[in-house]
Symmetry: D2
Subunit: 342 residues, 4 copies
């Protein structure tokens, strides 16, 4: 393991601390996933409690990690912090190979004000993270204006380009109201962005990784789970790092598969019915299965299709017992067809 | 263990199946907590997949459990299902002693349409459960109207009397859109009701307890956690059953402590500052501690109080190192004072 | 779910309580795994604390469960309890189909004196369980003689026919000394029987499933993990029950593969080197890989083979990067060859 | 976080890599617990796979960590590695204050050959660790002689001075036979040393922390649990680090309380009955409770005492419902009395 602190902007006191683990040698892979940590502190400071302890949690899980101490206090004027983020990501991406890092798997995790910065990174930045984890993030106007009037409210900037997000907060947070997280969820749901969210019963604000030695108040026993849960969530999105490199992802970004450039079994039945005959032709095993179900239960085929039209092809094929190999072949065939209705 | 099925309404085919565990004897306590299970099935049927397997999960955790098969199909006309619920709860409460049950700790768990019924129970029923767990619940007009036009949308009926709630769903649910759960969260947050919510990345609809033998599609690895998490959440709300009876709850229903009939350390500083001098007097150790902090860091006392005014007394006292015994005494003293501004 | 108590022996007050869950219908499989519960109580009684709560834990995991209240007190004279066990297993096996039970997957779990009975079942019974779970079991002469002089010490009866075992105890057990479990481990290791063992730092005797409501003394926080761990261990041995039936087991009973009737990739290199040329021929990809390693690191091929001779073929092939499909083919080929040196 | 590599012995290529986390400042405590990592490698090398990844796991949990690369290869002649260990511990202890480290809470974790070294540290070293964690350790003559003839077998050197131990291995380990771990357990049990042990069904040798990216073969799903389990075990032994410093330990080292210098409620009834009248006098609440039980069930007091004589006073008092405050007072009183029969 080695460590280095790089000054990104001396005038604004912006630094990037880099923690690198070995690749190759006894480890057979040459690239690890990366995690950029954005501590909180109300844009007045960058809290140590949300810096190294967070980096350590992802390092233990195999990540190359980076702590960005962005512009705060006298230098916090927007968009300074976002520019710091862009500069950090540009640097990290440019040195990915040297640093044993997979440039396509660099995510970010932010807390409170750092959660606001992370949400801006996920929505309006040029260098978006592969995935964004936000813990008790500031999102809405009231709290943002307390830090610095005029900052963007990231829930208003969610688009189809926003990266997958993982949200964490406690219901009884009195520093950043829980509605900040709730409104972000709604914006992500509206645009069909893949997300996961855990709102715990109690624990207030500022629990960081919720290790016993970091906590300053009592928290629900589930709160410390978010760290491990976020790591497994990333594995589902990006594959798991093993001695042989990354495995295949298991998540399908299913809610917006209907607007992806090519078709897949993650598309809905309704969507496929609006595609070419060619597309419908590869689905014969599924329609046969559905017909069998319709016959067995005395449904009309039309009625059945209407009732399940929002389901994905995968769900429907599993339901009618199409075997896994056939599903894989159908998915492959669909991937070669352009999505004709966006 | 013993089991009995009671016919609640023969004409509508409504039954309550009762699963009772021993009390007294080798178990030193005489009352267990209770859980009423409300299976899903679109008000067309009550699914077996969301009946006994759910009852078993809570029985393992020590609960007396009850499965209500409410009015469905031809009998589903609202408010039939809610009347069935009321009748079941009335019966359960009336036989609590005979059944080794703590009448003040009877909760409900519902799935899909049963989640709609559970949400109605939590908001508009006469016999509210102590706590309500809702898994991929139907809440909004679109989905409710598909089951039966004219049913209430429970998110519109949340009040200060609504019981604490635990919400579970998957982001990619295509049967009941995730917004059903999101809008319920918002309604609970608006009224300051204690809740917890887990929205998992993927898993669709109908996973029930997510045991391997129940699943019909692939789910995020976190999905099965909801069962155990809900049990610990209930312990935080209601205390943990031990050989000596129930321990003290650890959750404070802090967001609406400001509107509770008496004061407590779960009230906010802002709220207490609007109370009597007597109330402020018992807080001397806290104000002394805050003054010391203000002096040490060169803040004005007014500025400090403005910055942390939404925090609870407990949080502030812990922050300024008031010892645990003193906090307990202050809480006791506050409990004897009427809340003068509702 | 339905429940029935069958009198096995009226004179000796022996009963079998049967708890059955549904199969078929909404559950697509027709057979569940089974678990026979043998409560403890020093052969003086059968404790309720180790009866239904244990049955519930395995029912939640999908099992058909059975509680045997065997001969105790005036009727405890050995081999009465073992005869009760044989009678119960015979009955269960004979009614497996009627009870929705896979007759090849009936395991047993015993506590204290019931752990002794379970260990006798695993070693000397005619109807051995598929797997045996023993929690703070009585094994050695001292403690067995206190219950009833002349009972067998099951660690002395372990043979190659003994079923896989899962052992649980606390280091500070003052009722049944921890050496009972340690000596059982040694006997299983001696015969190459597949086992798993968890000895927790503290928790004494009699914690059963270690649910909060069952405990009578404080226990290490890991103690409650044994229940879930035993269930996953059984899945590794027997496959996991899913909607489509049981998956393939993942454990290889590798330590005694060298004495199995046919060869496999779970055999050791040393063992295979004593087999036919035909067997060695299918291993060419492995020997090629090992030769490459030897060349690369300047080892002699003989030296390398001596150093890793106790390793299994699978381990060695994975080490030299033979691909998974080739390993599977080699395993298949070896399975068709008789093991010539037992 | 900062990092430094100290050369302990240039001729033998021995180094200590030091990883230090912050104390004071935003963290309110000034001392962290420490963990010394002893990698494996058959005394031929020190494996990177068992070095930094292990240090990271304990750093995440709040520890100051140290990786010792001890004498191997040409320099492995015993007692060189043990001397390296002693030198490292002496250095760490001497700089504890400077390094923000609690000198009374420095533990060691060793793997394979490093597990042998860790077991020697726990038994025959001058600077014993506070606790020793050993993962697939080499203990017995066969395997030790393969590394270097003439090394000590640590199971033969366990005494009352040996520190608490945590043992981890897989049943199917073909590199270091599972009996190495089993014989160590027996030696610890013989001397009444506090220990915990987890033997997993399968996973072979060399799995280190069992993170996905470290594994080279398939392992039982429980194997990765050992890391977190060892951390909680250490908390039970040493207290948990919180913002206010360490909490009280919760383990009682009960099996050898009978040979401790002073009495306590962790002593057995039999042992106390051989002490002074003064000691017996403070136990009046317990004897009263036992008498009540004897009366209620028609036992003789002598018979009851004989049956439970090996139990601890704490267990007996809890059994007869002596309240927690009284138990605490009795424990305090006993602590002031010298243990008269060692």
């Amino acid at each position: 393991m080695r460590q280095e602190t790089i000054i990104l902007n001396e005038a604004r006191n912006v630094t990037l601390t880099v923690y690198l683990q070995e690749v190759n040698g006894e480890f057979l892979f040459s690239k690890r996933p990366g995690m950029l940590v954005l501590p909180g502190g109300g844009y007045a400071m960058c809290s140590d409690r949300e810096a190294d302890p967070v980096a350590l949690a992802y390092m233990k899980a195999g990540y190359q990690t980076f702590v960005l101490r962005y512009s705060t206090g006298a230098h916090k004027t927007w968009p300074n912090p976002l520019e710091d983020y862009e500069q950090a990501m540009e640097l990290i991406e440019s040195r990915a190979e040297e640093w044993g890092l997979d440039a396509s798997r660099i995510s970010a995790v932010g807390f409170s004000a750092g959660g606001h910065l992370c949400a801006c990174a996920a929505t309006i930045a040029k260098h978006k993270p592969a995935a964004g984890i936000r813990v008790y993030p500031a999102i809405l106007k009231d709290i943002c204006d307390m830090c610095q009037p005029g900052m963007p409210q990231p829930n208003e900037h969610v688009t189809a380009e926003t990266c997958p997000c993982f949200l964490v907060a406690c219901r009884d947070d009195r520093t950043v109201d829980i509605k900040n997280t709730l409104m972000m969820q709604l914006a992500l749901a509206d645009k069909g962005i893949s997300f996961e969210s855990h709102i715990y019963s109690y624990g207030g604000h500022g629990f960081s990784t919720a290790e016993d030695w970091i906590l300053t108040n009592s928290v629900s026993s589930r709160v410390p789970h978010w760290v491990g849960d976020s790591i497994v969530w990333l594995q589902e999105l990006q594959g798991t790092l093993t001695k042989d490199g990354f495995t295949e992802p298991t998540v399908e970004i299913s809610m917006n598969a209907d607007s992806a450039p090519v078709l897949s079994v993650a598309c809905s039945l309704n969507h496929i019915c609006r595609q070419s005959n060619e597309a419908r032709a590869v689905l014969k095993p599924m329609f046969d299965g559905m017909q069998a179900v319709a016959n067995a239960r005395g449904y009309s085929m039309e009625g059945l299709m209407a009732a399940v039209g929002n389901n994905t092809l995968r769900e429907l094929m599993e339901m009618v017992q199409v075997d896994a190999d056939t599903i894989r072949e159908i998915d492959k065939a669909l991937h070669s067809m352009v999505n004709q209705i966006g």
